[in-house]
């Protein structure tokens, strides 16, 4: 199975995770400072900054796009509870 390496820059931890894993599943286990509210893509609490590997994440859904817009998220922002890793190198940090 394809694997991605995702680095949480705030705690300087890198995890090798199978494709399809949501970032929330990894970040909570390693203790990154990305914080979560509803955990289902509705509240916008878990907006994070993707500093590298934007295309190594799944595309944002229409619903995620809507929440990002409503929260005036920047163009490098994603919801950590929605984004899934695909492969390659990804680097993220809390906003």
């Amino acid at each position: 199975m394809a694997k991605a390496t995702i680095t949480f820059e705030d705690i300087n931890v890198t995890v090798s995770a199978p494709a399809g894993t949501r970032i929330i599943e990894i970040s909570e286990k390693v203790g990154s400072g990305i914080t979560y509210g509803c955990r289902e893509g509705d509240c916008g609490t878990c907006i994070m900054k993707v500093t590298e590997g934007w295309n190594n994440l799944t595309e944002p859904s229409v619903l995620e796009d809507k929440i990002l817009r409503e929260n005036m998220a920047g163009k490098h922002n994603r919801l950590a509870c929605q984004a899934q890793v695909l492969g390659g190198v990804i680097k993220v940090k809390p906003v």
Partner: protein, 427 residues
């Protein structure tokens, strides 16, 4: 003696003028003693709403709690007809300011609703209507009322994501929402006439605004260029027409670091709190302290939770870069003094501070994991798994404590080695 403004005439609530074109149309709630569960008030509160009269239309700024809607509408009717209202502004969507909104929209259907960008989802959730018409605004946006206009200031998280301020430049008046407000009820309304509300002002800041100091400072960056203001018209408490600048200055002071910073440039602060019944968790704490002290540029402090009230620790934690908690496990739980401190931190911003947990235990040892979860819930980052030791720590185990302290201190100054963990190895 100062004559109180006439709030009720012949049994009918009346608007109170701030100027020829600006009127207070809010309501007094003198019997309230507890607000939003968390706040006390010794003499109630007010729900301040305002009417601005322009040559081409009137604006209503905020409304009141639903149970006070009758007072609000009576006061509104004393200075306006519903068909004259072209604009409704909501600076904040909490129900104590939006309770009368549905009825106001029914009575003035032609009025356009102006809310902040972040208020959209809240408005829908509040009104439970899908077909809502409104305009979202940001700093720099304005709406004309003819010879009066309203400018919007994007001031989020004061104290909800949606909050904004509205400025009336022709009268140098800022409708500030909950900012500069307080729970204080006095029918004399104006700050130069009401009783002594200094405590209420400070208390309100400490509980409502303090967790958002960073955002308060951003908001003040937008508000200070407007000085000198003639009036600050907040959504609760006295209307600040006498030297309103003082309150802006006070907010700036309160939004600085609570305690004087004793560290030198680049130095990080790490606080270790512990409590111990038989001295085992204390021995761990001392070893962790020693380990952390070995790292340069980290100022480490060790505190026994038994030795202080909670409040000074909250102030210390607010200014710290890292916090470590040591707790034994008793009856499958962390001990009460630890939870007491952890439940007192909602008034400060903890986001991205470093957290760590350790503790000695007798047979189960759940406390460390529980406190780790709590720290994550409080938005701390907890990158190093907690350290649990069964009963009395051996010399080898004390070495682990030293390493735990050292590693946390290294993490704080960015010296910890990066490593790649396989997802399968994560618990």
């Amino acid at each position: 003696m100062i004559k109180a403004p006439i709030l009720i005439q012949d049994g009918v609530p009346q608007a109170v003028s701030l100027s020829e074109r600006v009127h207070w149309i809010g309501a007094l709630d003198p019997n309230l003693r507890t607000f939003d569960i968390i706040l006390k008030t010794a003499n109630g509160t007010s729900y301040n709403a305002y009417l601005v009269q322009g040559s081409d239309g009137f604006a209503v700024i905020d409304t009141v709690k639903e149970s006070f809607a009758d007072d609000f509408f009576a006061r509104l009717e004393s200075v306006a007809r519903y068909e004259q209202i072209t604009v409704i502004v909501l600076n904040h969507l909490e129900p104590d300011h939006t309770g009368a909104l549905p009825e106001l929209m029914r009575r003035a259907p032609q009025a356009r609703l102006y809310i902040s960008q972040k208020a959209q989802t809240m408005l829908k959730a509040l009104l439970k209507q899908t077909e809502l018409e409104f305009t979202t605004v940001l700093s720099g946006d304005s709406v004309s009322l003819g010879d009066r206009s309203l400018q919007f200031l994007h001031t989020p998280y004061l104290h909800w994501p949606d909050t904004q301020c509205t400025y009336l430049p022709e009268e140098y008046t800022l409708f500030s929402g909950d900012v500069f407000g307080c729970h204080f009820c006095d029918s004399r309304l104006f700050n130069d006439e009401v009783g002594d509300f200094r405590f209420s002002f400070e208390y309100y800041y400490a509980h409502i605004m303090r967790p958002f100091k960073e955002y308060v400072n951003h908001a003040l960056d937008l508000i200070e260029p407007l000085l000198p203001l003639q009036t600050i018209a907040p959504a609760h408490g006295p209307l600040l027409r006498d030297r309103p600048q003082r309150y802006v200055k006070r907010y700036r002071e309160l939004s600085q670091t609570t305690l004087l910073n004793e560290t030198s440039g680049g130095e990080k602060t790490l606080l270790i709190f512990y409590i111990s019944s038989y001295g085992n968790t204390r021995r761990m704490a001392e070893a962790i302290y020693e380990g952390a002290m070995a790292i340069e540029q980290v100022r480490v402090s060790l505190y026994d939770l038994e030795g202080s009230e909670i409040e000074p620790f909250v102030d210390l934690i607010e200014g710290a870069d890292g916090i470590i908690f040591g707790t034994p496990t008793i009856n499958g739980d962390a001990v009460k003094p630890v939870w007491d401190l952890l439940s007192s931190l909602a008034v400060i911003n903890l986001k991205s501070k470093l957290g760590g947990v350790f503790g000695s235990y007798g047979w189960t040892g759940e406390a460390v994991r529980m406190v780790e979860d709590r720290l994550r819930g409080l938005k701390l980052r907890v990158p190093i798994p907690g350290l649990r030791i069964k009963l009395i720590p051996t010399d080898e185990e004390l070495e682990l404590c030293l390493a735990f302290g050292r590693e946390l201190a290294q993490e704080l100054v960015g010296l910890r080695q990066s490593k790649i963990i396989d997802m399968a190895d994560l618990a």
